[in-house]
Each structure stands twice: as C-alpha cells, then as structure tokens.
Assembly symmetry: C2
Homo-oligomer: 254 residues x 2
C-alpha cells in the first residue's frame, strides 16, 4: 500500500519544464511554437508567501506564467467574506483579465513562495494570433477550467460539508497526480484549514470538525503537510465524485 512520497510539484526547480510539459500533454510543439513559449519565461520574479500577485479591480497589463510555487485565486466581499476560486500550479498562466477584459476580476495570492514570469498582455495576445495551435490548445484548456469551476458550483450549491471536504481532496488528488485516486494515495499540499474552509464555503471551525469526522471514519488521514486517502472508494462514494471527469484529454483536431 505504500506508494512512496507524494510529489511536491510546486518545488520544481525546472519551471520551463512545467510549461512545456503542460502543452506537450496536449500537442506536439513545433520549433517555432516552442521558441515562442520559451520567450514567455524571460525574467522570473520571486514572490514571498502571502503576497498578492494580482489585486481584484486593478488594471491588467500582463499575465503571469507561474514557474514555481502555488497560488490561489480569490474574491472578497466588502464585509470580508472570502471565497477561494481555485489554485494555480507551476506551468499555469495566471491573472487573465476577466469578464470585463481590462480589469482583474479576482485577486491572486501566493500560498507558498513563488516564482513568476510576467508576460505583457500584448505579447500573450499576439502569440494567440500567430500560433493558432497554441490558441486552440489554450481555448481547450480554458474550457476545461470552466468545467472545473462548474463542478465546484455543484459542490458549493448542493453538497453538504462532508461531501465537500471529500470532494476537495479527491479533486486535488486527481489534479496533482493526474489519475484516478487510489487507496493510500498521499497528497502533499501546503494547506491551512482556513484555506480549505474558504475554498469550500465553510467556516473554519466547521471545516475542522468535518475533517475530524472524516478522520474518525478512517476515510482520510491528516499528517501535517500531507493528507492520505485511506479509503478512496469510500470518499468517492461519499462525494459522488466521478473520476472520469478528470481523465486525460487529447485535444480534438491537433
């Protein structure tokens, strides 16, 4: 049952590999395309933990390639209520302007120390029109992102606290390890319970109690920076989690 140490992708010291790997999963890159992507990662900047990379409402002049670290996208309501919208991993492009394409719709905060390369918005945009296959790939990646967000809508709208927490770890596992969650799988992710709570729309005390309940049911073990899926089957049933949603994706037509 021992499947070894969990991968800690945010510690990657080969940031360029993350981006290339991300695209290579979807399409074979030509030399020109490769060069273009390579030009994105020019001058990487180091951001400390807890520092905001983007503030909601600000003008967007560039997007960011996350080279190392983990970030969270979040929104806060005027009275302080916070909702985390998702996480960014190395290789992800962060900080798109959103509905209104000039301003950031959400803030981005570094959960761990991170390294980011700023890509001027025009450069990013021109890549899209010069390299149609990259644009297509990014389109499908964006569609996937939408599907993920929508699946989380189900979680927040219709699942109870235990289901939410179970779903949370299963999704994390599927995204990090890129496969169907198995018994004993280890998830290393530098999360505080507050982050879990704000992701799942729960209060911190309630998230804590719920975690305890899952531990008492021997579904999940928590060990410092690591969570272990003791009973993947049980969690999947509890959360109505569909592993097929996270299967690998060949991009149509590429």
């Amino acid at each position: 049952m021992d499947i070894g140490t969990a991968p800690q992708p945010w510690l990657s010291d080969a940031p360029w590999a993350a981006l290339e790997a991300k695209f290579s999963r979807y399409l074979a890159l030509s030399d020109a395309e490769r060069d273009c992507l390579a030009s994105w990662q020019a001058p990487a900047r180091v951001m400390p933990r807890r520092r905001d990379l983007v503030r909601e409402g600000n003008d967007v002049a560039c997007v960011y390639l996350l080279c190392r670290g983990i970030v969270s996208r979040y929104r806060v309501l005027p009275d302080g209520r916070r909702q985390i919208l998702g996480f960014g991993l190395p290789g992800d492009v962060i900080g798109f302007p959103s509905c209104s394409l000039a301003r950031a719709a959400a803030s981005v905060c570094c959960i761990t120390e991170s390294e980011v390369a700023a890509i001027p918005l025009e450069q990013f945009a021109s890549t899209l029109t010069r390299f149609p296959r990259i644009a297509a790939a990014l389109f499908w990646i964006a569609a996937r992102e939408t599907a993920l967000a929508q699946e989380r809508l189900v979680t927040l709208g219709r699942r109870g606290a235990e289901e939410r927490v179970a779903y949370f770890f299963l999704e994390l596992c599927a995204l990090l390890h890129k496969g169907r969650p198995r018994d004993g799988e280890r998830i290393a992710f530098p999360l505080t319970q507050e982050i879990i709570a704000d992701t799942l729309g729960l209060s911190t005390p309630h998230a804590n109690r719920t975690l305890r309940r899952l531990r008492d049911q021997r579904l999940l073990a928590l060990d410092g920076q690591e969570a272990i899926l003791l009973d993947a089957r049980g969690l999947i049933a509890l959360a109505s989690f569909d592993p097929a949603h996270f299967a690998a994706m060949p991009i149509p037509g590429l």
Copy 2:
C-alpha cells in the same frame, strides 16, 4: 421610468445574426472568417421545451450553435439534487466536452423551444486551427465564461439567500441587456422558481420566500414572465454586485 418592453432575445428569428453579432462585438470578421462561421449554421434542428440536448456522461461528437431559444447547463447528483451551472442564449456555442475532452460533463436542457445547429467536433476543431483570430476570440470568450462561473462560486459559497437572488437578477440583467442595471429595468426570462432555486443552490420553498421578501422590500417586482428591478441601487448594495465585471470587452490584440 418606463423603459419599454424588455428584449426577448430567445425569440430571435435571425439566428445567424446572433452568432455574427456575438463575434462582431469582439473583432471585425474577414470574409473567409465570416464564411467559415456561416458554414456552422447549416441544418438547424428544433428541440421542444424540456428536452435534453446533451446528457452528462455521453460521448461528444458535435457541439451546438444555439440559434433560437434558451437552454440551461446542469448537473445532477446520484440522489437527484440538481445544480444549474448556467444558461445559453442564441449565438452561444453549447455542449463542449469538458475536463475529459471526450465526454460531456453536464447535461443541457431546453428551457424554451429551441433551434440548434449541430457542428461536428472535427469541423469546430479545425476552424480553430485554420482561423487563429477565431480561436483567440473563443479563448477569450471561454476565459470570460470561467470568470462568470467563478463569480457564481462566490455567490454559492459566501452569499446568503437574499443576496443570491438579488445577484441572480442583476447578473441576468447585465448579461441580457449588456449594461449596468438601472431602476425600472425589465427582465423577460421564462424562469420557474424551481430554476432559480436550482441555480442558486436553494430549495424551492426557500427561493419563494426570499423572492417574497425582496418584493416586500420593494427591491424587485415579479409579474409573470417578467421581473422588474425596482431599486437597482438597493439590489446592487444588497448583493455586493460589481457592474464593472460586466462591462464591454474589447479583445486584446485583435
């Protein structure tokens, strides 16, 4: 205060106009691009109210251009709990395969009688690689879709029932009328209270009570198929709604 009859876009009898308008809002189309989009709308099929256009879990062979009508994307949990993920209006392309790019992650149901043109997935995909500007536009549209879904995450995760309902109508107004909601604005949309409840993660009785409370506070008037924003300012404050999120979007670099 009378701003006339609300537009009822789903009744459009010029479906092609919807798609062209959608793209023209973002970029000036070349002739070749125009021809390509035109080829999408070949044989339109009529779907009755309540009929499912796509079933979650099914293989995806084509995407659909919605020419007339309104549809909803939704997911159901095994025990029947339902969550509506969003709505589709004429001009929208519906039914992408999602995370796993082979299968539908959600179902799509016709809220009104609708007319759809099926676009084979390969044709859609090849359009992306042949017309980079269209791919880029679709990328930004997808990014916008993600932002919308994420804003709804805030609603479901952190807003109370009254805030949710207020937000719902404001968003609807902004999307349909494409502008900042004003006092007296009329929203015509063929909604049942069950649809509202399933969109907002509420039970039908509770949605009903909440609607009544908003009516009692003279924030909203409900008249059959029409809702009227009596006090837009009040609703905006109640929902912590940011109209700037819905401002018009020029696409960078096109």
